[in-house]
């Protein structure tokens, strides 16, 4: 720990020294984040952690001088918070440089050496990204070059090895992405039309572990090839985006028993004008899951990005049983409609109507023991937001959710009806109070739930809240929480205490399992 502080102080010192000696017009920027929990024993939820302390910390520094930039990110897990897969892996590092880079970016030319965060197309074949809430960092350590032939054609190439939790995987990826703007080539007016193509190769030796016989599973060589082609169209109020992706024989999950080819289709269509927005997203996945390493497991061992395409809620009970994507085979999508009706004479009076439908089925009949294509997820929901005047705002939400706990293997679904009322009252220009009341009605699984929240805001610095979530039928357990936050410019400190339910924590449609715990949490974010 002493070394950690010294090292980071040293890094800051070097960086600041550069800024102070004024290397041209260079500047330093950075951010710091800590999420630290002291865990308490709580027999009611069966939580008796052996280590009562967990702390995830991130320090990121960037230096920019004209077209040149460089940066580092140091991660410290002291140890990792409960439920973070990276802390549970054997030989996991507690403190390491999770990314570093040097980049030169000209108008038409860019080169980056270091850890690359990028995606090809819609991420069906490749995406490297960081999500601290999930403990995922799949940045590729290597080199990336981009060249743009005016606005007509853009070509990108990269080569490197992806990060797998606290270390790098022993697999290598190389790929290219080409983007062609037909709008610019044919000088089209008012229409945006681009074509995109991607290729990615993953190379990993199949003989690293004598206990694993990949040949018996159908893998014939160390190379996997993925490819995709897409179109992006925008005309007046309409937009459309489509992509087809395919891949060679591969194990789509860490527990797959047979190598198979994979394919995926993604389509997005939308119409928008002032006050109205309609969008639809459709996706088919057929064994498109792609691992960074065939030898490893975990949520972070993913080379492409296949999130759940469903509505993401901000209310506790509506997020209780989130949909998890079925990469082996699913077919479905979502439709979303928003409409805003504003009073012509008073900007502070308006209605917002919003409806959403998301629905997913298994792709193939053989995915289920029934021999039928089974429902994986259905969510029909709507919400109405009413801003009455400068002081009052109310929101009402209803969601009907039906989900299959066996990922379609059995013909069995659970149904939940969720009701939410949300009221905000602005006492004066600094003080406000917000209250939520939620009810989940269900005859299945854990039965009924009720939840409430009260939040008091004292702008611009303070916010206080208390909440409780109670299972009425099965566990009869209260999940209480309370805390406050203080914000000063770019620094925010939040201290809270509470009991947390075991379940899936989702971010961007990707989920990780978190065990139940009771504890005191301090979270600080700061940037400069």
């Amino acid at each position: 720990m002493k070394h950690l502080v010294l090292m980071i102080a040293g890094l800051c010192g070097i960086a600041t020294a550069n800024a102070q000696i004024n290397l041209g017009k260079g500047y330093l920027s950075g951010s710091f984040e800590t999420n630290t929990i002291y865990y308490l024993n709580d027999s009611k939820i069966g939580s008796e952690p052996t280590d009562h302390f967990g702390s995830n910390n991130y320090l990121k520094l960037d230096y920019t001088l004209g077209r040149f930039s460089a940066g580092i990110q140091a991660d410290a897990y002291l140890p990792a918070l409960l439920g973070y897969e990276l802390g549970e892996r054997p030989g996991a590092n507690h403190f390491y440089l999770s990314s570093k880079y040097i980049q030169w970016a000209d108008t038409n030319f860019e080169v980056l050496v270091g850890d690359i965060f990028d995606q090809f197309g819609n991420g069906l074949v490749f995406r490297s990204y960081e999500d601290r809430q999930l403990g995922i960092n799949t940045g590729v350590e290597g080199i990336r070059g981009i060249y743009r032939f005016g606005n007509y054609v853009s070509v990108k190439g990269l080569y490197g090895r992806p990060r797998l939790y606290t270390k790098y995987a022993d697999s290598w990826v190389r790929g290219a992405n080409v983007n062609v703007s037909l709008t610019d080539i044919f000088a089209m007016d008012n229409v945006l039309l681009t074509l995109e193509g991607s290729y990615l190769n993953r190379h990993e030796a199949l003989d690293k572990d004598a206990m694993r016989d990949f040949a018996a599973l159908g893998l014939t060589g160390p190379d996997l090839n993925l490819y995709s082609g897409g179109i992006n169209f925008n005309w007046k109020n309409l937009f459309f985006r489509g992509e087809y992706a395919g891949k060679g024989k591969d194990l789509p999950t860490a527990v797959a028993e047979k190598a198979v080819n994979g394919r995926a289709v993604l389509g997005e269509i939308g119409y928008s004008r002032k006050g109205l927005g309609v969008s639809g997203t459709f996706r088919m996945l057929d064994n498109m899951g792609t691992l960074i390493s065939l030898y490893e497991t975990g949520t972070g061992n993913v080379l492409n990005y296949l999130p759940a395409i469903t509505r993401q809620y901000t209310y506790m009970l509506a997020n209780l049983n989130p949909y998890q994507v079925n990469v082996e085979g699913e077919l479905g999508g979502q439709i979303d409609v928003s409409y805003r009706l504003r009073n012509r004479e008073d900007r502070y009076r308006y209605w917002i109507f919003h409806g959403n439908l998301s629905n997913f089925y298994t792709l193939r009949r053989e995915q289920s023991q029934t021999g039928n294509r089974e429902l994986l997820w259905l969510d029909m929901n709507f919400d109405v937001e009413r801003q009455w005047n400068r002081k009052w705002k109310t929101t009402f939400l209803f969601s009907f959710q039906e989900w299959n706990p066996h990922h379609g293997f059995k013909h069995r679904t659970y149904v939940s009806n969720i009701f939410v009322a949300d009221v905000t009252y602005k006492i004066d220009h600094k003080k406000s109070i917000r209250a939520e009341l939620q009810y989940l009605l269900s005859d299945e699984y854990e039965g009924d739930w009720v939840a409430g929240l009260v939040e008091f805001g004292l702008a611009p610095h303070w916010s206080f809240y208390i909440s409780d979530m109670y299972n009425k039928d099965l566990t009869k357990t209260n999940y209480y929480n309370g805390g406050f936050s203080y914000t000063k410019n770019r620094t925010r400190i939040q201290i809270s205490y509470g009991r947390n339910r075991a379940g899936y924590i989702c971010s961007g449609g990707v989920c990780r399992y978190s065990p139940a715990y009771t504890g005191c949490n301090i979270a600080i974010t700061s940037s400069f």
Partner: protein, 162 residues
Amino acid sequence: MKNLFSLLCCVMVYCGATAQSLPNVRVENADGEVISTSSLTGSKPLIISYWSIACKPCLQELNAINDQLEEWREKADFDVVAVSIDDVRLRATAKARAAAMDWDFICLFDINQSLKRAMNVSQTPQSFVVDTAGNIVFSHSGYTPGSEQLLIDKVIEISKKE
């Protein structure tokens, strides 16, 4: 814990020692075109606010700014840039929602969070005020109703200087 606080203090000490410019990153606009963020600066101060579909306080902040926009623009001339960090999961929804909200903003879609990363945004909501020279002169993290006033106060302050 003691060392953790030392580490934090270390970072804080350096916070005041530097100034940041708006990084030049290529992102998509509401028409689907890829633009460079450097093209946004030069004529007017900017309020840049990050949001996502699943971030309730972000939407609260942007709606509060939009409600007061006419009154604010009587005091200073500026643009509001709303940066969505929704990825492929909710990108189409975010695009349609931005139009439905009737925001009088420049809407950007930072699909792989390149701009978010370059501006060192750890959590949303996070808002910035950028002057006409492209310098980030103010930033605020989180949102409580009323805290949007800090943004316009800063815009008015720099408009007077410029």
